[in-house]
């Protein structure tokens, strides 16, 4: 697979457009995990993530000509398509309650059962907190903090300005800190306005 690692995404796309099956195959192996992870972190469902991954590459087969290298990397382009599909799914399925599923089981890292359990609980709580964020904040957290994209790449994927990404990320992280704060400290976090009748 040296050819895969040496060839750039754009070259693989050109190969694919020229009718070379290997181009698509290499591109899929290189980028499918990131797309799948993004979809999974956005919606928390393995089945939806699979569907979105398939749809993203189907779109690439059909509309690969729409990619403009001047607007950003192919990675950002694919994540942009994935984002559109995820948002569509979320809007369509907002009336349904998902059954708890272990989206992607984290593997034990060999630091003992207690550490593994603790880590598992942390991941679970963070995932739950991310899934409760509004979509516009969730996507920047997923792109910038979980996918480790730069602000520019995230802006290209979301189709907005870099400043917007920064401000949304600031707000999203503030919300996440509030949500993940331990309950003993975080009890009075949600302050509701009250009127004094005295």
């Amino acid at each position: 697979m040296t050819a895969e690692t040496e060839t750039s995404d754009a070259e693989l796309l050109e190969l694919m457009k020229a009718g070379n099956e290997e181009g698509l195959s290499a591109l899929y192996r290189r980028r499918s995990r990131a797309v799948h992870r993004f979809a999974l972190q956005m919606c928390g469902s393995q089945a939806v993530a699979d569907d979105v991954t398939q749809e993203v590459f189907m779109a690439l087969i059909r509309e690969g000509n729409n990619y403009d290298p001047a607007k950003g990397t192919l990675h950002a382009f694919l994540l942009g398509i994935a984002r559109n599909h995820v948002l569509r799914r979320l809007r369509r399925e907002r009336f349904y309650v998902s059954i708890e599923e272990n989206a992607a089981e984290h593997k034990a890292d060999g630091q003992g059962p207690l550490a593994d359990f603790s880590r598992g609980e942390t991941i679970k709580s963070v995932r739950s907190a991310i899934l409760t964020l509004p979509e516009r904040y969730r996507e920047v957290v997923v792109l910038c903090d979980l996918q480790e994209l730069s602000y520019q790449e995230a802006a290209a994927a979301l189709g907005c300005a870099v400043g917007t990404v920064r401000s949304r990320l600031h707000r999203a992280r503030t919300l996440l800190i509030a949500k993940l704060r331990p309950s003993t400290e975080g009890e009075p976090a949600e302050v509701k306005s009250a009127r004094c009748f005295a």
Binding site: M16, G19, E21, L24, S25, Y28, R29, S32, R33, V35, H36, R37, L40, Q41, Q46, A49, D50, T53, Q54, F57, M58, I61, R62, A103, A104, H106, R119, T122, I123, V126, R127, I130, V141, D145, L146, Q147, E148, L169, H170, R173, L176, I177, L180
Partner: protein, 262 residues
């Protein structure tokens, strides 16, 4: 650095610390956090969040194995369809034949319109030319058909015989068209019979009528006996018939004069 500036870079600082990528630019905010307890607490929270997010990011997810073969199958079908479309020669495509038929119809339609315009426009020009007595290219041969054209031929004997024949044919064609046009116009618009009218006879003894003030002529029908009151002769055999007359009305609406029409 103050707390507000620290607030702006705290996220980058926390992320950099979580990934051990501290740059020189971030040293100054780090110093500020060492001095300000509130900012240090904020940095600690951000660092903790970055650590948790890194734990989530480290969890790998793999798409299902059936996706890749399904995609490749779709890709093969797509490329095969494109290939088949390319292999069909252009003259075997139905679109080509539809386009050709449409173009042919358009051509026939355009030629028809052009021909009809030429046939209607050219005689008109000839008639105008005949009436004006000009139009150099057709010359006298166009104006006078048959008998005189032979005279023209005898006079102008200098051009070759074939030229003469062409001219003769052309002039005959044009004169035929002129005749057809005249006959057609005669059929379409029948000429009204010429009217014979008497002079206007004054009806009232007022001053001279100034026509610049306005007025109108009204066509009426009267009994033939009315002619007698103006001193005009009447055929007594036709005294029961009616006769047409034009009555001249002045601007004030009074009848000023009358003439009889036959």
């Amino acid at each position: 650095m103050n707390c507000q500036e620290f607030e702006r870079v705290v996220r980058d600082l926390a992320r950099a610390q979580a990934s051990d990528r501290i740059t020189n630019e971030l040293l100054l905010p780090l110093d500020h956090a060492g001095m300000c307890p509130a900012c240090e607490l904020k940095l600690e929270e951000e660092r903790e969040l970055s650590r948790k997010l890194a734990a989530v990011a480290s969890v790998s997810s793999v798409p299902s194995t059936f996706i890749e073969p399904a995609l490749l199958q779709v890709y093969r079908q797509t490329t095969r369809k494109v290939g088949v479309a390319k292999a069909v020669p252009i003259f075997r495509r139905p679109v080509y034949w539809f386009a050709a038929a449409a173009a042919g119809l358009l051509l026939v339609f355009a030629v028809g319109i052009l021909r009809s315009r030429l046939t209607t426009a050219q005689p008109g020009l000839s008639i105008a030319a005949v009436q004006r007595g000009e139009d150099a290219p057709t010359s006298a041969a166009v104006v006078i058909p048959s008998a005189t054209s032979s005279r023209v031929e005898t006079v102008n004997s200098s051009p070759p015989a074939s030229d003469h024949r062409i001219k003769q044919r052309h002039s005959k064609r044009v004169s035929d068209r002129v005749e057809q046009q005249i006959a057609a116009s005669a059929l379409i618009e029948p000429q009204p019979e010429p009217e014979i009218a008497t002079q206007f006879i004054a009806l009232s003894a007022v001053g001279p009528l100034n026509l610049q003030d306005g007025g109108q002529i009204v066509r009426v029908e009267l009994s033939r006996l009315a002619m007698a009151s103006f001193g005009l002769p009447i055929n007594m055999d036709r005294s029961g018939e009616r006769v047409k007359a034009d009555v001249l009305l002045s601007a004030d609406g009074f009848a000023r004069a009358i003439r009889f029409i036959q």
